[in-house]
Each structure stands twice: as structure tokens, then as C-alpha cells.
């Protein structure tokens, strides 16, 4: 895509020596074309056990009723909607990376968009299971669709944010799936071309007859851009609508106009954290260090730091507005969050989401792989607590003190949540086994322009300003996939 020359030499988006197009294909398809290694099997076993737990706990809930969960007359939503919002939020990074960064021509997205989009899809699936599972009568879930019926004016309620949710989530899922699959087509065709027998037939069907002609590529580019155009508003709209579930209610602590931007920022925050969690492991296990480089890790950490700060400002604004509004119920809701019986949840949220991302101001920390992974987990935990705090601590003490109650999760609540993580990872691990986890075609675009070897060549050609080169070389020190010895003689 970008064949322009950089005015100042920038950090490479891809590392490694003597990389060819063929090698890129070989590297990336390594897990797809070979038997899985031990690490994959361990991961898959654990994840499928988790998924099994999900099946058991969801079946238990469906069989006995929602009473299996810890909900009560006062707290009508707890781990269910917490889980739902958490998963939807996680999905957002994928869309942001694939759509928004595409439109802004951020080429560093090329190596991470595939996994991030896959993550989006699996996260939205997990979220959608919660929508159905949290219903008292899930077998009537189709009531939420505006289906024609014999009852005349019996229709769905477009005023209800839950109704909007149904559409937001289903649109989001279908667009994401379409975008993801479109991006996959050339890569599936690559697999097809290299495969034999049954595999070839399967990938052949999946590739929709991709020929690789110029016209195909041109259409591919166009479709990608159109889909990116459609997806971009979704990055903002989906979580805005999810936030409407709360913002359009009367509940103190929910009824807040700040929710849409705050939720979107939080979603991107948690999404990038989840991308980090996944990719830092994937890159190691699948040996993709040259494609997912320190540049990517650091960039994502910067986004985490930025969105974490936005979220932090939102938390503080909520408090300010509660005081400024002089609404006693609102004020109590916030004082109760910080000092009430769920203070530990609030302070977990504050320390995980507001304080910990600030550590990324330190370059040393944001370029440390171990720390980045650790912090991504912390952010995931923090964002779960954020939703828990918003939902449970608002509901458990609202207007009428006689109804104030505590929420205690049951084993089923916990199992459904842990199980949904198992389900997510099962899907993700199957994905990296059967489909390329890095967009081969798009990464190949970087080889000639943004790769370390092409830049090294430029340097060796000696046309560059030595100051810039020196600066460039310094920037390479953070890369764990670059041997600085190579640059001693350059």
C-alpha cells in the first residue's frame, strides 16, 4: 500500500534477516501446516475444560432457572451483564485496529489485525451468549427480534436500550465477521495453494475461488476500505449503545451522560489489553517475533496508557458531577462505591485501570514484554471490576433503603464466567491452528518498505543522514528480535 519513502527513517514494523515473501508464508503458516506443539495442546486442553465448564454451568442454569445465579430482587444484573459488557468491550480493539487504523494508514496494524479481529469475533460470541443466558426464558429470545406476528401491533420496544443492544451486537458481529473473512481470503488461498488432498478441497471452498488476479486484488482493497468505513462508526456506536443500557435508566450511578465516550474509551482500553495478553503469548509460542515486534507492543501500550487515562478522567468526572449535581441519590451512589461494602471492587478498579497504566510512562516498562503482559492482565481484571462496580454497586443500594441488598455470586456465576474465558480461548486456539494468525498478504506489503532489512539496506546504501541513522539505531535497541551486533559495522 504505502510505497512512499519516509522522510525520516522510522522504526521497522518487521524484523529479521533475509526475509523473503516465501519465508513470510512459511513462517506464518508454520502452525497451520504442521502438527500442533505441546504448548498448544496444553493450552487447548485447559481451554476446552473451561469451555466444558461453561457448557455445564449454562446447562445447569437453563435447567433450574436463573435462581442458580446469585441475583436477587434488588440486584437484577451482576456477573451476567458484567461479563457481557466486558466481552463486548474486549472486542473493540479488533475493530479499531482493522478499521480505524486502516483508514488512517497505520501500517503497523498489518501484523496484528488478524488476531485482533478474530479476538473480536470470539469476544462478541462470548458476549452474545450472555445476552441469551441472562434471560429468564432464553427459549423466547426471538421475542427480541421485530418479527412479523399474528398479534397485530405486538412489536418490540425501540425505546429500550436492550432492544438497541440486540441490533448493535448483531450488526457488530456480522460486520466484523465479514471484514475478518474478507481479509482472510488471500491467505486462505495461499494455504489452499500449498495444501493437498482434503485440506486443499476445504481451503479451496473457503477461499471462494480466489485467483490472485489484479482485479481480485483491486476489489479486495476496495471491499476492505468499504468495510473499514462501515466498521469505523461501529467502534463508537456499539459501546455507546451498550452504555445506553445504563445511561438511559433512572438508576443513580447509571443515569450519566458521560457513559458513551467513557465506555468507548474503556472498551478500547480493555480490548488492547486483551490483544496484548493474546499476542505476547502467541508471538512467543508460534515464533512470530519478527512480525509482531516491540514496535507493536510499545504502540499498543501507548494506546492502553492513553485510554486508561481517559477512563481515569471519566471516573473522576463522575464524582465531580455527583457532587456538582447535588442529587443526594447520585452522591450516595458514588460515596457508596468508594466506601460502601463493595469498596474493594471500586479500589481494585481504580488501581488496575487508573494507576497501573500510568506506569507505561516509563519506556523501560512499556518495552518490557513480561511487564506488558502482566499489566495487560491487570487491565483486564480492572475492566471487569469497572463493569461490576457500575452494575452491582449502583443496583445494590439505590433509592429505597429498605431494598438495599448485597450480591453474592454462586458457583454457577463464577463457572459461567470462567467457562466463557475457556470458550474464548478454545475458539482462539482452534483459530491459530487452522487459519493464519497474522495477515500474510498484508505483512508482505511491509517487506519492501517497512522491514528492518529494507531499512538496513537503505542505511548501507549510505544515502541517509547519519544523525537520523544513529537515532534509528538507538531505537532498535528495544527490539528483542534484533541482534544489535549486526549494526556495529553499519
Amino acid at each position: 500500500m504505502s510505497h512512499h519513502h519516509e522522510s525520516i527513517i522510522r522504526e521497522p514494523l518487521m524484523t529479521g534477516k533475509d526475509i523473503t515473501y516465501a519465508q513470510i508464508t512459511n513462517d506464518i503458516l508454520l502452525p497451520v501446516e504442521n502438527k500442533p506443539n505441546k504448548a498448544w495442546w496444553i493450552g487447548f486442553t485447559v481451554s476446552s475444560l473451561g469451555a466444558l465448564l461453561w457448557v455445564v454451568s449454562i446447562s445447569y442454569t437453563f435447567w433450574f432457572g436463573l435462581g442458580a445465579w446469585g441475583l436477587n430482587k434488588t440486584v437484577g444484573w451482576a456477573w451476567d451483564i458484567t461479563g457481557f459488557v466486558w466481552w463486548v468491550g474486549i472486542g473493540h480493539a479488533g475493530t479499531l485496529i482493522s478499521a480505524v487504523l486502516l483508514i488512517f494508514r497505520q501500517n503497523w496494524r498489518n501484523s496484528i489485525n488478524r488476531s485482533a479481529e478474530a479476538m473480536t469475533i470470539f469476544a462478541v460470541i462470548c458476549a452474545a451468549t450472555y445476552i441469551v443466558a441472562h434471560m429468564g426464558r432464553p427459549w423466547l429470545a426471538y421475542f427480541t427480534l421485530p418479527l412479523p406476528n399474528q398479534y397485530g401491533s405486538l412489536w418490540v420496544n425501540w425505546n429500550s436500550a436492550l432492544m438497541m443492544d440486540v441490533f448493535a451486537i448483531s450488526t457488530y458481529f456480522s460486520v466484523s465477521l465479514l471484514f475478518w473473512y474478507t481479509g482472510l481470503l488471500p491467505d486462505i488461498a495461499s494455504i489452499r495453494d500449498r495444501a493437498t488432498g482434503l485440506r486443499r478441497r476445504i481451503y479451496s471452498i473457503l477461499s471462494f475461488g480466489w485467483t490472485g488476479s489484479l482485479k481480485t486484488w483491486q476489489r479486495f482493497e476496495t471491499v476492505s476500505l468499504i468495510l473499514a468505513g462501515i466498521s469505523t462508526p461501529l467502534v463508537l456506536s456499539v459501546h455507546t449503545i451498550v452504555s445506553f443500557d445504563f445511561a438511559t435508566s433512572l438508576e443513580p450511578g447509571w443515569h450519566t451522560t458521560i457513559f458513551p465516550p467513557y465506555f468507548v474509551a474503556g472498551a478500547i482500553f480493555s480490548g488492547f489489553a486483551m490483544v496484548q495478553t493474546l499476542l505476547l503469548v502467541t508471538r512467543k509460542v508460534l515464533g512470530l517475533e519478527n512480525y509482531i515486534t516491540m514496535f507493536h507492543i510499545e504502540s499498543m501500550n501507548k494506546i492502553i496508557m492513553l485510554t486508561g487515562s481517559i477512563v481515569g478522567v471519566a471516573y473522576i468526572t463522575e464524582f465531580f458531577i455527583a457532587w456538582y449535581s447535588q442529587v443526594e441519590y447520585e452522591q450516595y451512589a458514588f460515596i457508596n462505591r468508594a466506601t460502601g461494602p463493595y469498596w474493594w471492587a471500586y479500589w481494585s478498579m481504580m488501581s488496575c485501570n487508573v494507576i497501573s497504566p500510568q506506569l507505561f510512562w516509563s519506556k523501560k516498562l512499556r518495552t518490557s514484554i513480561k511487564f506488558s503482559w502482566f499489566l495487560s492482565i491487570i487491565v483486564n481484571i480492572g475492566m471487569w471490576f469497572e463493569r461490576f462496580v457500575i452494575i452491582v454497586t449502583s443496583l445494590h443500594r439505590d433509592y429505597i433503603p429498605s431494598s438495599w441488598a448485597m450480591f453474592y455470586p454462586t458457583w454457577v456465576d463464577v463457572s459461567v464466567f470462567i467457562g466463557s474465558i475457556g470458550l474464548f480461548f478454545t475458539m482462539f486456539l482452534l483459530f491459530i491452528r487452522v487459519l493464519p494468525s497474522v495477515a500474510i498478504a498484508e505483512v508482505k506489503l511491509l517487506l519492501k518498505t517497512s522491514s528492518e532489512q529494507s531499512k538496513k539496506k537503505l542505511i548501507e546504501e549510505g544515502h541517509l543522514d547519519p544523525v537520523e541513522v544513529q537515532y534509528y539505531k538507538e531505537s532498535l535497541t528495544k527490539y528483542d528480535s534484533i541482534d544489535m551486533a549486526d549494526y556495529e559495522k553499519v
Binding site: 433450574f64 432457572g65 436463573l66 435462581g67 446469585g70 441475583l71 436477587n72 430482587k73 434488588t74 437484577g76 444484573w77 441472562h134 434471560m135 429468564g136 426464558r137 432464553p138 423466547l140 429470545a141 421475542f143 427480541t144 405486538l154 412489536w155 418490540v156 420496544n157 425505546n159 429500550s160 436500550a161 436492550l162 432492544m163 443492544d165 440486540v166 443500557d245 438511559t248 435508566s249 433512572l250 438508576e251 443526594e328 441519590y329 450516595y332 443496583l395 443500594r397 439505590d398 433509592y399 429505597i400 433503603p401 429498605s402 431494598s403 438495599w404 441488598a405 448485597m406
Partner: protein, 1019 residues
Amino acid sequence: MDSNKKYWKGLEELNRTPEFVEKNKHEFAEPIPIEEVLSGGGLMGKTPRRDFLKALGFGVGAVTLAACQKVPVHKSIPYLIKPEEVTPGVANYYSSTYDGSAILVKTREGRPIKVEGNPNDLLSKGGLSAQAQASVLDLYDNSRVQDPQQNGSPTGWAQVDAFVKNQLAAIAASGKTISIVTSTIHSPSTQAVINDFIAKYPTAKHVSYDAVSYTGIIKANQNSFGKAVLPHYNFDKADVIVSFAADFLGTWISGEEFTRQYVSNRNNKSLEAKKMSRHIQFESGMSLTGTNADVRIAIKPSEEGVALVNLYNALSGTTLPGSRKLTTANADKAILLVAAELKAAKGKALVVCGSNDVATQVLVNAINSLLGSYGTTIDLDNPSRQYAGNDAEIVDFITQAKNGTVGAALFLDANPAYDYHSADAVKDALKKVSLKISFSDHADETAALCNIIAPNHHYLESWGDDSSVTGYYTVMQPTINPVYNTRQAEQSLLVWSDNPVKDYYTYVRNNWNNNLLAKGGLSGQAGWETLLQTGFVLAAPVAAGSYTFNYDLNAVAQTILNQSAKLAEAKVELQVYQNTAMRDGKRANNPWLQELPDPVSKVTWDNFAAMSPSDIIKLGLDEFEVIKIEANGYTVTLPVLSQPGQAPGTISVAVGYGRTAAGLVGNNVGKNAYPFLSFLNGTFQTNASATITATGDIFPLSQTQTHHSFEGRNVIREASFTEYKKNPAAGSGAEGEHEKYDLWEATNEDHIHARPVYDWVMAIDLNACTGCGACVVACSAENNIPVVGKDEVGRRREMHWIRIDRYYSFNNDSNGHAVTKEKEIAKLDNFNNVTVVHQPMLCQHCDHAPCETVCPVLATVHSSEGLNQMAYNRCVGTRYCANNCPYKVRRFNWFNYWNDSRFDNYLNNEHTQLVLNPDVTTRFRGVMEKCSMCVQRIQAGKLQAKMEKRPLRDGEVKVACQQTCSANAIVFGNRNDPNSEVSKALKSERTYYVLEELNVKPGIGYQVKVRNTGTESLA
């Protein structure tokens, strides 16, 4: 020059194979091979089209058939001969009587499904207690004894009769006593049957005792005025009421009647006439009555007598020997102020005392005599007949049985093996009795010790009568054929005593014809039929005479003070009381009552040790920590409950729990507190000195409310009577008008909901509501509300559509402000200056209902009559509505309560479900429900009016909660009618709407709680 170059696309073209040539002809058009298919070749193909269609047709058909479940055919036969007066779908009402109150029994298709008060009832004018409301469920209790039993195995009535008569004859011949042990019999006909029985068996003796006894009052009246009666109190005639631990609005003698009387001096009507009675309560444990008092002083049981002596001194101006000051200065001061107030209200004052001690009650008589209460607020000439038991009789019976002089013991509505203070003594004594017969309809604790269980009918299956107050006679008529093979106890007694009257119905008729009908000016068959319709006769009351007490009180005071001094030595003073839901424990197997929250503690399904918060802090106990209580040689372990207002140094424990043979519901719920009673000076004493030890265990109690203060929120609005007199709108928030904005009305006309005919609303007077909870049970009965059990209540999942919120607030001595916030309350060191407010809370049927806008499937919508409706069939159960309800009145069916084996013990069995109201559907799991304002009643009322071609009259439709309320705290009606009761009530200056600032436009107006706290602070 022609080029020889030849371009070809493939080898086929180069070689021009025949296939290629053929195909090339049709390069761009391939006609559909219709001809080929139709001309045989196609049909012969591997899957010809027709076969495919056949297979498809068969497949779809087969799958459709397989998917169809055969519709179960329930054969039913319509009435070939329609029973007279039974029209399916139309309820019949029969007048009857419950515990001396005239009632109406609603039956549907032959099943009694609800008990409602008779609006003309002398006692409560249509109000009914929770117990009465719940009594219909006992009819369908499947743990009732279903056949007569001999030695624990079912037998026939003929065998029982033969055996019993034989035995009775032998016992009579041997000269041994035949004891008929009963609780108070206030039915004239039952009493006559017993008298006849005694006439037949001269050694027979009637032993009458009550588990919760009023012997103390009866004996005191005997001593003071020569009349061994329980007086009829007139709380409506009292301007100043001082109660010493008498829970007269709840469990004391005649709670519903007293509630009606009491509230008549405190409700809106009375307030508008600038009149409000003043009520001061001295007590140890917080009773329902104490929560309603204007001033409540916490005193230990040992100080009750001392306080009464001091009150007497202050009123009479003398000093009884041995008088001493109370230990708390404010109580001492209070007594003097109370004395002054009582004096000022002479002739309109009433002092009552809950003690069962004769000496104490004699002193109370003396006080009332000084106040001129006799003939005004106390009526000795038309006495109450509700309790006439004599404690000494049961004690004597047990002594005699132990001595072997009792040959037979018959237990009618008596269960001494449970409620006598020494169950072991009863067991030992009964071992010596050869013939033991229980008439209990359950194999209860005493029945288990008997040779014969001759199960009695439920009262809804019985003929009979009752007389709760002298001159007031109510009739009991059956509303259903006996469900089980039971026989009315009176009938058994008639048979066993070879009475010339062979059946009890005739006996009752005779009794009425000969004695009772005439009292109401009735006679003959016509009179009887009138009686069956009206339900009662009322003889003109005797003019209440005034009585003067003139005996020497020195000895009485000495007894009281000695007893008090002895009790005061205790480490902890134990008070045994009845709570409003369970009372004496006879209905412990009733799940509606078990799940009814105690009005004060909000605890369900358990009793507990109520302790003062300061004591709990002092002893370092945790909430619900189990303590071991030892008193009168009996030890029991109970969880502690922190009870504001509980006198420090005291514990209160409710009786009625700890049944071991009540049935599946009531067994082992709580612990038995009867053994804490003791027999002293001829009566059972309810106070004891106790010691307690902490066990460290925690036993969580299931409360329906766990936050007890209203956090200063204007959900509760209060005013003092002084403020009210200055400004009737005091405290209502209606003083300052402010501009109101409405998002909807300003922008969109469609959003103004049209209410063309009816606009159903409610007014609830917080000053009338005593918090008793009868409405909760009435609502459960009317609306088929499931019982969910202790565990589910503990998870905060009770299903009640109406609840009574109870809030405590505290008076801070230092600045005089009410302390209502939890954090400030925690800093208090004195939890005794507590005031309580009860607030019935139910769906407010908001005009801008927040629940309606958030439901994704429009399962909850507004009606054109102002009702917020639930379409259960449409509900998918997202619970968004409940989350968005600011009043938290929506209830979710977490489980399939009506068909889930874990709830079998409650209402979930075929038999018990016969009590269900067929006009109201039961709700499936996953569905939200809430108060419908008894929409089925509204519809029925509208239909009736339509059929009679007239408008619906105000008051014609009464909702269940309103109907049972003796205090008339709930008014329901049409707001469109400016003359309706509810419109008038809502016009009161005291009216406010809870959370009105949210602009949800609730349809229920509350009226400010007014307290007659007077000018001088007592507390």
C-alpha cells in the same frame, strides 16, 4: 497476406475433438434440459425430480408428524345437573366466623379460596389479621391427619367410637377423672356440647388454658371487682393510652379490633378534626405496638412493676411502701410526665399492661380506677370472651394425671406437649393416663402421645358458632365438604356421650333456635336463614358501669416489688413474647405465615434472641451469632438479632417456633421458647432471669429488609402533631410550590396517557398503617404469590407484591435532631431513643413508568386506566424493568416455584394448589411479576356494573390489601371521580408521593406520618 498463425485456447480446440465442437456451438447458451428430463431419461436418473419431491414431501411430513406431540385429551364433563348457585367462574361468598370475628369466605367452584372480613363485623369492621387471612391455606394442608388414628395407625370412625365409648364407660365406672383439655372455648354450642358431655360422664372435667394466657387480668378483675372477666377495652375512647408491654395492636387480646379503635383517633379524619390520641409505650422488646407509639420508653421487665407503682404513686399522691426509683433517670421522669398527662385526660385515659401477673394487673386496675377508665375506656359489663383460660387448671391437670387420678384426657385445640412450659411433665403425666384422645387435625406433639387421634374438621368444613364478646354471636357454616375422613370434634363428643341430638348441625340449630337467635331479634327458619347471610347477631350491650377500686394495695405493691427485685438480680432479663405472624405457634405449618416478615425485625422462618445493639457491642457478639440462653432450667441456642429499642440487659424470644410435629413446613423452624415460662402465684410468668453464653457459631436469619434506616431521604416524611396543627402540610414537602418540567407533555401530546373513564390510584396513610403485615398475606392469597422458603428469602428473593418497609430513626440527645443515616447511627451510644415508621410499598403504577420504557419486548405496558400491566406471556425475563424500578417492587421468578421439587413443602403440591385463585395465573420461571392492583377484581367489578347497566360505584372494588386492613390505611379508587374516597384522601395536605422528584408520576400518594410527640420531650 493471410497469417497462418492459429490461436487456440486449449488442446481441445486445436484438435477439434467432437465434444469440443458440440460444446462450442452452445458456448453462451445452455438450455435447460426440460425435454430430456420429461422424456424419460431424467425420470430414470439416479434421483429423478419426482423422487426427490416425493422424498422431500415425505420427509417434511414425517418430520412434522414426529415433531407434533399428541395433544393430551383431558376429558371433562360439564355439570349435567348444575349445582344450585355454582356458576363456573363466579365466586360465591358465605358468611362464617374465624376466631370470633364475622368473616366472608370466598368460594370458587366449591373451593374456599379466600377469607375476607365481614364489613359489619363488630370487632374489626371488615379487617382481618394475617393469621385469619392465612387460615384458608390450612384447609389444604396435606400434612393434616387424613383418617382417625388409633395408636398411630389409620382406622375407621366406627372402631374409634366403639373403643372410646367402651373406655370412657370403664373410666367413668372406675371414678377416675375424664379431662377435656381445651384452649378457651368461646363457641356457645361447643361449650354446650362439653357441658352435655360432662353431664353424661360426671367425672369429666373441663380444663381450659391458653398457651399465651390472660389469667392474670381475669384473676385481677376477680380480686378487684368480683368479676372474673377479660374486659372489653375501648381504645377509641382513650385520648391518652399508656401501655406497659401490652402489644394491643398486634397480639394482645384482640389486635385487629384495637387497631381499628386506635387508628380512629389518629387517621386523616381525626387529624383534620385536630384530634390525635397520645400513646406512650413502656416495654422491653420492641413490639408492633411499640413501633407505633408516640413515645416509647425501653424498660427492663423488672422495672415494669416498679414503674407501675411509681405511676400509681404519682396519680394517687400516696406512696406505696417499698417504692423506689427506676434505674434510668429518663424513665423516671417519663413516669411523672405520663402521670400528669393521664390525670389531665381523666375519663379518657387508658392504661394497659401485658403482664400475666395477678398483682401487677391489680395495680393496673387501681390505676385505671383512679383515671375513671371503668365505664369509659374499659367495659367490664360486656366483657371479652376471647380468652378465659385458667393457668392453674392445666397445672392441676398435670399434677392429677401424674398422681394417676386421671383416666382419660381429651385434647381439643390444645397442645400442651408443645406449649406447656414443661413438655417432660406432660409426657410423664400422660404415661399415667390410659385413654388419651386428640382432636387435632395434625399429628402434633400432644397427638403423638395419644392413643386416639380423632381429627377435627377445619373450621371451613364445620358448622358452629362463636362469641368473642358478650352479646356478639357469630355463626360458622361449612363452605366445602370435608376434604379428608375427618369428623368435627363436637360431633365426636356428641357420639361418645350418646347425646339425643345425633348430629352437630342440628345441635347448633337447636342452640340458636332456643337461645341465640332471639338475642338478635330473629326466630325460626327465616331467622336462621337471615343469620346465615348476615353472619352474626348482636344483642344490645349492657350499659357499662363504672367500677371503683378500693382495696389495700400495700401487699400487692410488696409482691410486685419483691418479684421485680428478684428479677433485677438477673444477669440478663428474658422476656418471652408472641410475634404478629406466628402468634402462639398453632399455625406454624402455614407457609404464608412463616414467610410473613415479622413486622419489627423483618425476620422470616425463624425466631431469635433480640438484644439491644449496645449489649451486642458490649458482649462482642456478631450479627446472628448463636448464643446459649439458660433460664428456668431450660437451655436453648438462638441467633442474636440486634434490635434497636430493646432495653439493654434484656433479651426477647418469641414463642410459636420450635415445633417438632407441626407438619412439613413448620417442623424445626426456630426454637421453642415456651419452656422459659414459669408458674408463679397462680399464673404463667413470661419473664425470667437468664444467663447467656456465646457459642461463636453464626446462624444467618432470613430478613426481607437488611438496611434499617432511611438515610435522611424524603422517602419518609414525618411531622409532629404540634407542627401539623400549625400547618397541615407540615413535612409533606408541599409547602413550597416549585415549577415542574415535563419532558413528554411539552413536546409530544401522544405521551399524555388518556384515562377516559377510570384512573386507578391509591392513597396510603402512614399514620394509619401499623405495619402488621396482614395485607401481605391477603395479597399472597389473592394473587397466588409463591412461598419460597428460608433459603430463598435469605437470598433476598421473597416474592411478596406488597411489603412493609420499616425504618428506624434515632433521637440524638445532644442536638435533638433525628439521626437517620447509617454512619451517624453507628456513632450513637444510645439506641433506645428509637422511632419507627412503617411504609407499605408496592408497585406505584407510575404514569411515567421507568419499567415500561426499558422492556425490550413491551411486556410491561400502561393501561388506559392508569395501571402498569404485566403481560407474563410476553416477558423474556431480562430484569431490566426491576433494575430500573426506583421502588424495587418487581419480583422475578428465579425458579419454577409451582413445579420444582425443592419447593414441595410450601404451596407446590396438587392438593395445596387448590387454594389458588383461578382468576390469577401462576407465573412460570423467568417471568417478572408485581402488584397488579388486583386487576382481576377491577375487571370483575366493571363487568358486574356493566351487566347491571350502571357506573361502577366508588368502593365497590376493593383491592385485597385494602380489604384486610383493619386500620383502613389503604384507600383505592378512581381518581377521575372527584368524589371518590381516594380523590378526597389524595387532596389531603399531608399527601406526598415517594420519589416524586424523579417525575415518574407514581399513582400512590402517601400521607405524612404524624407523631403526637407533644411539647415536652419524654424520651
